[in-house]
């Protein structure tokens, strides 16, 4: 097998395929970074990818084949798995479960987002009841077999599945998290019978809780055939054009995997796009010399928040996608419906609301002239002068300030009896409050103080809201990479390989249990070492982290606690747990029993990092391209407009001002300062918090 780690003297590509745009970042042989943005082609996604690479090759003045053959690493991020779930066009799935327990998937533990909204039905169940088939078998709570797998029940289920033409089968048997032998037995029967796509819950997500484990296995089975076909086709067409290394893809946990591994567990790709921001944050952290960052990436429909704390990104054990529960470890990306296209309005009693609904690409904000009547955040930005009236981005959209004014006036300003500008500023404040609360909710959960963090603004809209959000959170500075609009694609070029190995292990924390735990640990460590070795990583490039999932007896949430690979000191383990517990929850429960619930090994294969290329721009003076009236703090200010690429390095400018970059717009409020560093990135220093 060709090895993953690269030598560092060839091209590197990061390709982030989103619903609307495909972002491509090319790192050339001299370590210069190039950004390309093209429209996505949702019906044939791999064509969009090739088109973007062709564009990048042309920009380098070489042929596609030359670029690909000299490419040492292509990392891909894709929303294909996510869209498959959201659009409901996944596979026809059958579920094999334990007799008597086939309905946990549709009961969903009775969980609904908002109890009061009782008239709203659930999103459709992914496997109808007649395709959820109970097998005669049972493992008890200690992992002991009480009923053997009845093969006739498997065979008859199989013939029904074939007759119903299910493409993909999920297997989730009762208590398989503690003993997976029955699932493996059923899996091998299915394999022998030629079922193409089989997901075993105990292999994918060996966690306690039949609902969550079933839901995860079903989601995986649901997206497997589509995602598999797409990734295989993409890898083949890249190979056909000269690419020789394995194609890599970003997983939910921000690590990369080869396509052949990912295809078996495509549920690990549901957050493939946003998770790649982690790589970018690591680079920013090194470049800017700051190890506590909060990233806020704002696009058209939503804002993704990631907290990078003391050099590490928080990991969550579960997330949901389109109201379906996925119990897989993932980068803790908190997404809220707050973006440029987010819609505003007033209720019957005169209260302003903003979001979470958005205007989407069609019809889009009112000012696009695409027929949208509802005022959006972008309309508010335009009305206040932060965006320029006229052609926008590549010129395919023309912003019309009068349409924006009309929408805001009729639906917000007039009903509230306030000025158009006050209404627009209000829409922006309320949208920003959503972002601020999303960040606060995350930091509360993590027990960290946002005032000690640098805010990183990304996405097309992030740098327009950065100053205001930073002030409310008490952050003193904002870092704005000049490639803010393609942050995730850049992140892909610097992402490490990551394998996560996990076992459920229930035991009271004590001298005796440590001994049995050590054995399982050693086993997982060996597995991790072997995986990385197979992929060609040498000792220097390998890193293995070991963790225990711990909690007080009776608690349901555990805490992941990093521990030494040799489990020698009980006192250390207890202390580490209690320090984190107190930080997160405000207390420690002295003398209470601590339980081990799981064992994890994280195996990393590190790639050589790209640092931002240093720019050389000298002997130029910062000159605005023009000025316009921009609204800040209840009045319009005459405000200079700069073009990002013409600004000299290490210059400091005082707000109010606006900087237009290729993929984003930066707003600097009065009394704030912005500095261009020697990489051409921006540091915004905000005045005292409001």
């Amino acid at each position: 097998m060709k090895s993953i780690p690269h030598e560092g003297n060839n091209y590197r590509l990061g390709i982030d395929v989103g619903g609307t745009f495909t972002d491509l970042v090319l790192v050339d042989k001299k370590n210069n970074i190039h950004i390309h943005k093209v429209a996505s082609t949702p019906s044939v996604p791999n064509e969009g990818v090739l088109k973007a690479i062709e564009l990048a090759a042309a920009d380098q003045g070489i042929a596609l084949q030359d670029l690909l053959s000299q490419c040492e690493m292509i990392v891909h991020g894709s929303t294909i798995a996510t869209n498959c779930v959201l659009e409901g066009n996944g596979a026809k799935v059958a579920l094999l479960c334990t007799e008597g327990f086939r309905d946990s998937l549709s009961i969903r533990r009775g969980i609904r987002d908002d109890a009061w909204a009782h008239r709203i039905p659930y999103t459709p169940v992914l496997v109808p009841r007649h395709l959820r088939i109970g097998l005669r078998e049972r493992i008890d709570k200690h992992g002991k077999e009480t009923t053997r797998v009845d093969h006739t029940s498997v065979t008859s289920a199989l013939s029904y599945i074939k007759q119903e033409r299910s493409e993909s089968v999920a297997v989730c048997l009762f208590n398989s998290f503690i003993n997976d032998s029955h699932e493996r037995e059923v899996g091998s029967i299915l394999e022998a019978e030629g079922v193409d796509w089989v997901t075993l819950s105990s292999e994918l997500a060996p966690i306690m809780g039949e609902y969550e484990r079933t839901s995860t296995a079903v989601i995986n089975a649901y997206v497997t055939p589509r995602v598999g076909a797409y990734l295989k086709a993409l890898e083949e067409s890249l190979r056909g054009n000269g690419y020789q290394k394995p194609l890599l893809i970003v997983q939910n946990n921000a690590g990369v995997q080869t396509i052949s591994t990912a295809i078996k567990r495509p549920a690990t790709l549901l957050l493939s796009g946003p998770a790649a921001a982690v790589g970018a944050l690591e680079t920013i952290s090194e470049t800017a010399g700051r190890d506590s960052l909060i990233s806020m990436e704002i696009g058209g429909t939503s804002c993704d928040v990631i907290v990078f704390n003391a050099g590490e990104v928080a990991i969550t054990d579960a997330f949901s996608i389109g109201d379906y529960h996925v119990a897989l470890s993932a980068t803790d990306v908190h997404t809220v419906g707050a973006g440029g296209g987010t819609i505003a309005g007033c209720d019957s009693a005169g209260l302003l609301w903003v979001g979470p609904k958005g205007a989407g690409a069609i019809p889009g904000p009112a000012c696009y002239g695409g027929g949208g009547q509802a005022p959006t955040v972008t309309d508010a930005q335009l009305l206040l002068g932060r965006l320029r009236d006229g052609p926008f981005s590549d010129g395919s959209i023309i912003l019309n300030i009068e349409l924006a004014r009309q929408a805001i006036r009729s639906q917000v300003a007039q009903p509230l009896h306030i000025t158009d500008e006050h209404a627009a500023a209000g829409i922006i404040s309320l949208m920003e409050q959503t972002v601020i609360q999303a960040i606060e909710a995350k930091t509360v959960q993590l027990g960290v103080d946002p005032r000690k963090f640098t805010l990183v603004a990304g996405g097309g809209s992030g740098p327009m809201h950065a100053a205001s959000v930073a002030k409310h959170l008490g952050c003193r500075e904002v870092y704005i990479p000049r490639l803010a609009g393609a942050l995730c694609a850049f992140g892909m070029t610097v992402s490490d390989t990551k394998h996560e190995l996990f076992r459920v292990h229930l035991a009271e924390l004590g001298e005796y249990s440590l001994k049995s735990t050590q054995g399982i640990f050693d086993n997982l460590v060996a597995q991790g070492e072997e995986l990385l070795e197979k992929e060609g990583f040498n000792t220097l490039q390998k890193r293995l982290d070991t963790e225990l999932d711990l909690r007080y007896t009776g608690q349901i949430s555990h805490i992941r606690v990093k521990i030494d690979r040799r489990l020698t000191s009980l006192a250390d383990i207890r202390r580490n747990f209690e320090v984190i517990h107190e930080k997160l929850y405000g207390y420690r429960h002295l003398n209470a029993i601590i339980e081990i619930v799981g064992i994890r090994v994280l195996a990393y294969g590190k790639v050589t990092k790209v640092s931002f290329d240093k720019k050389t721009r000298t002997n130029i003076i910062a000159t605005p391209i023009n000025t316009r009236k921009v609204y800040f703090f209840d009045q319009f200010h005459k405000t200079p407009i700069y073009q990002g690429k013409t600004l000299p390095l290490e210059v400091q400018l005082a707000g109010p001002l606006i900087i237009e970059e290729d993929t984003t717009t930066i707003v600097v409020e009065p009394d704030d300062y912005i500095t261009v560093d020697h990489f051409g990135n921006y540091i915004l220093s905000v005045s005292d918090a409001t």
């Binding site: 327990f101 659930y122 306690m208 009693a349 209260l351 309320l430 409050q433 405000g586």
Partner: protein, 573 residues
């Protein structure tokens, strides 16, 4: 002071965010499954007068009573509320409580020397003493048999926890470890809330803070008035019943008269039966909450819920009746029953005012609780929530097949069987949907479940089988009633135990089978889409016979397709 509409919108969302943050803190730190698995608690915030300003976190049945807790504190400790004090209370007759197991931690929030708000956490404790482990004593005939009664008391005085009271609390529970962990968690969550309120008031300035609090109350009031204006004026009567008083098969009537005029509403329970012998009496706090749940869930979930919302609603609950009993009537069951009957009867009356938005009935609970000893000698309490009933249908949605009780609009999480096997001495045999139980309708009721579990040790049981005799999920607009529940407990020697609907019993290892009550249907079943009837048949939820008989849909012998001409014929009849 004139209020800026933008700042007003920001205030509402900020307060709700604070209440939710308190809830998250609690979920992640609490020790009892009742909190961390099933969210049986609520965090709320009041102004200095005890008026509710946010309850974004929490379960619906806790909605209406928070102010009474704080008002009782204000009455008891008028000039003796200082920074660093924290209060604890529960008694429904003297301390503004709803029922004894729900303990409320209340922390006043100060800026300088001025109390600007109260942040509170109301949470159902695992055990508070009383006649039966686990807080529910179906044999109770007086409140004294239901556990320790907490008047308004200072748990923490000027930052010093009162160890004497702490010890008193721990002495009066069968689960001191759980109770202690949960109390710490409640205290932690209110601490988080108090800090956030202080920051917020600091940013606005205290004067502005109060001004905007009044603003959000006024706004919610206006929203409720708008919603009431849209209902036709009139007087609407309804009657709902319970078929027992916990000791005998006797009918208890819940009678309501809604008088709706312009933008106000009177909810009058005159004619409702007198308080009963058993523990299904409703404290006034609980009755008020139940009425609020019924009205807001009917009129729309987007109406904000604070003290302003309920200004246009007046409740008449005769003293000494089952909806406003006199001491020492027992009442621990009230948050579930008769909350269920009160919500039902209000929904039935509202359906007469606005049939399009009518809601079919939800099945009443019939699962038991049990308690026993862990191997280490400590006490466990297990709720058989895996046997929760189904909900009724509304226009556009079938009933939820299994969901939390109506009092919380289903907001109680059904536990995983696997998790409960790890915690309790049980081995599960079945947890699946029922067939031919759901009330038929254009939108059918929820099915309910068949639940079977083997309990491997000795245990004490609290029977709570309200929904097992009389069907409870009423149909509406031509929809049919859902099937009642069944409960059978079989000892290892094969003998079934005869059990009353309510009561207490000690039993050895047994197998408990519960079929949970189904929900009612909405609208004429003959108008249900034949494709949906077919998929229910394929899914084994409706039999071929019932498809034909109840829905007028003929299914071909392959069980997979519709006999269209025959269906036409059946539906034309």
């Amino acid at each position: 002071m004139e209020r800026d509409p933008i700042a007003l919108a920001l205030t509402q969302s900020r307060l709700d965010h604070i209440a939710r943050t308190m809830g998250q803190t609690m979920t992640r730190t609490a020790h009892s499954p009742i909190f961390n698995q099933s969210h049986d608690f609520s965090c709320f915030i009041t102004d200095p007068h005890g008026e509710l300003i946010s309850q974004a976190d929490g379960i619906p049945i806790h909605t209406g009573g928070g102010d009474l807790i704080v008002k009782a504190i204000l009455k008891t400790f008028t000039h003796d509320i200082a920074q660093g004090d924290v209060f604890l209370s529960s008694d429904p007759y003297t301390a503004g409580g709803n029922h004894l197991p729900d303990w409320v931690i209340t922390r006043p929030v100060f800026v300088a020397d001025r109390c600007i708000a109260f942040v509170c956490n109301r949470a159902h404790q695992s055990d508070i003493g009383g006649g039966v482990a686990g807080t529910y004593n179906p044999a109770a005939t007086e409140i004294f048999q239901e556990g320790i009664r907490l008047p308004v008391l200072k748990l923490i005085e000027k930052k010093r926890t009162r160890d004497d009271i702490w010890q008193l609390l721990l002495l009066n529970t069968r689960c001191p470890e759980l109770l202690e962990g949960d109390l710490l968690s409640m205290l932690g969550s209110t601490k988080v809330g108090a800090k956030a309120i202080q920051d917020f008031a600091g940013e606005l300035g205290v004067g502005h803070f109060f001004c905007y609090l009044e603003g959000i109350l006024n706004h919610a009031e206006q929203r409720m008035r708008d919603a009431l204006m849209a209902l036709p004026d009139g007087t609407y009567h309804a009657l709902e019943t319970s078929d027992n008083d916990c000791f005998s098969e006797t009918v208890t009537k819940f009678q309501v008269k809604l008088i709706k005029k312009s933008d106000w509403l009177i909810v009058d329970f005159t004619g409702t039966d007198a308080q009963i012998k058993g523990f299904k009496n409703s404290s006034f706090s609980n009755t008020r909450s139940s009425v609020y749940v019924a009205i807001t869930s009917f009129l729309g979930h987007t109406i904000p819920r604070n003290a302003g919302t309920y200004r246009p609603i007046e409740i008449v609950a005769p003293l000494g009746s089952v909806v406003n009993p006199k001491p020492p009537a027992p009442l621990t069951m009230c948050t579930v029953l008769p909350a269920h009957e009160i919500i039902h009867v209000c929904w039935m009356a509202l359906a007469k005012a606005d049939p399009a938005r009518s809601c079919a009935g939800w099945g009443k609970i019939c699962h038991w609780n049990m308690a026993g000893k862990n191997p280490d000698g400590s006490t466990y309490v297990m709720y058989h929530w895996g046997a929760l009933p189904a909900s009724g249908a509304v226009d556009g949605r079938d009933g939820f097949d299994q969901i939390g009780p109506l009092n919380s609009l289903g907001n109680l999480v059904v536990p995983n069987c696997e998790t409960y096997e790890q915690i309790y001495p049980v081995h599960f045999l079945k947890h699946e949907l029922r067939k031919d139980a759901a009330g038929a309708g254009k939108f059918r009721g929820g099915t309910g479940v068949n639940y079977e579990v083997r309990v491997t040790g000795d245990a004490e049981y609290a029977y709570r089988s309200e929904g097992k005799r009389t069907p409870s999920g009423y149909g509406i607009g031509g929809g049919k009633i859902g099937a009642p529940g069944h409960v059978i407990a079989t000892l290892d020697d094969g003998k079934d135990i005869e059990t009353p609907q309510f009561g207490v019993g000690q039993h050895g290892p047994l197998t408990l089978k519960i079929s949970s009550p189904a929900g009612g249907g909405w609208g004429n079943p003959k108008e249900r889409s034949p494709a949906l009837v077919l998929s229910d048949v394929r899914d084994g939820l409706v039999s071929i016979q019932a498809a034909e008989h109840d829905y007028g849909v003929a299914i071909n012998s392959d069980g997979k397709s519709i006999d269209i001409p025959h269906t036409q014929q059946l539906r034309d009849q």
